[in-house]
Amino acid sequence: MTTTDAAYDDRLAEFVGRELVRRTVAKDAVSTAAIRTWAEAMEDTNPVLVDDAAARATGRDGVVAPATMLQAWTMRGYAATQALARGEATPGAEGFAELVALLDEGGYTSVVATDSDFEFAREVVPGDLISVEEVVEAISPEKRTGLGVGRFVTTLRTYRDAADEVVGTQRWRTLRFRPKPGSTADGAEPAPVETPEPPALRPRPAINLDNAFWFEAATEKRLVVQRCTTCSTLRHPPGPACPACGSFDWDTVPAGEKGTVHSYVVAHHPRHPAFDYPLLIALVDLPGPGGSPGTRLTTNLVDVRPEDVEIGMPVVLDWLEADDELTLPVFRPDPEGQR
């Protein structure tokens, strides 16, 4: 079969939003023994991991677990790893098995993890009983990478405590790829021998003397707005003179992190290889400081399905590290947003 045919794409698309792994609770609660084993192996000398008094001196109630150890608490452990190697199914992971089977059918038999993005809501402490559930966020169109052609699968793992409160999330991206001939055993998990490269870079912005400051700030993950220092009017896109008073004098102010969707389009065609489709292009209203008239930014919306976007929707700033030279502001739905 050809893996670019529309029917196959549709079957893959049906996985987006689906639960890959049902909520799975750790076999054991968080323990000081396990924390110490981790800290020693990592040679992590942070005293708050092993010394109650040192932890209390920093305002904590006692020792805390390393933040990134969150993933370890629900790892399947030795016995279940052996069972998996014998071909036994992992209970609760039927969705995952189905997706892997569908990817295998497309020839994407190898896997390598490419990105992990942890956000922590609170510190985990001994006695916490951690659970994890995993949902598919996105499956990319076929991309050409250094390892072979493949698709990036992005999932979101949500870690909760015994009271169902989220203690952290982990956005996880793997490349499922068709190994280049002779590169590895069939179905094996090869080492990530090189960083996968997308076939094309996003188009370069046309940078000039008037707008360079904006892109330079973006490189440092600062979203700024140009302000006339004569009449204080904000303006965007950047330009040499104030459209309100004609002054050439300006500075910049931080744009803040919150905005609302003024309008949007969903781009399907023509397709540029650097983008994932459907591509959400939005005009986001950014309020001015102290309620003054704000500006409007052309940007992309991420982590939201086109059918879930609404005019007026509150959104929050995030940063897209498109490549080594280009970092751009994007917006995602604001979880705290009130209409």
Binding site: A41, P47, G59, M75, F118, E119, F120, E189, R222
Partner: protein
């Protein structure tokens, strides 16, 4: 229209680093024992992290460090610099060249952002770990500094 800098919510004893501050470089020898010990400490029993023959069967020259350890080392690199008061808010990494026994990983970092957030200060650090092949990991670690409790 003025934008006064908000008062720092961080206790005066806690120094807030400036944007651009370089973290002290960390040179980590990657040994076979370390790769196995960290894999087991993270409850990761996949054979590619402890069995050289099976790792080779799977197309890798040798065993290699697991991802939980890459995350753990990024956390260690930043928290051991930021001090015990720092709490980890985010660890975002991109993975590249694997770490094999005999490699040396050099970790570097730079403060790329300092911002107030609901009574705390968030320090954003760009981190990178390079071995002889190239970039093993690169990404961002955010830690939060907050005021000490007034009374213990």
């Amino acid at each position: 229209m003025t934008h006064p800098v908000p008062p720092s919510p961080v206790h005066p004893d806690v120094s807030v680093p400036a944007v651009g501050t370089q973290l002290p470089e960390l040179v980590l020898p990657i040994t076979r024992t370390m790769i196995v010990a960290t894999a087991i400490a993270s409850r990761d029993y996949q054979d590619v992290h402890h069995d050289p023959a099976l790792a080779q069967d799977r197309g890798s020259p040798d065993i290699f460090m697991n991802i939980l350890t890459s995350n753990g080392l990024a956390e260690r690199f930043v928290t051991n610099w930021a001090g015990p008061a720092a709490r980890v808010k985010r660890v975002k990494i991109r993975l590249g060249a694997p770490n094999h026994p005999g490699d040396t990983m050099t970790m570097t970092g730079q403060v790329t952002g300092v911002r107030p957030e609901t009574g705390t200060t968030v320090i954003e650090v760009a981190v990178r770990g390079d071995n002889r092949i190239g970039m093993h990991l690169s990404g961002t670690v955010e830690v939060v500094l907050r005021a000490h409790e007034e009374t213990q």
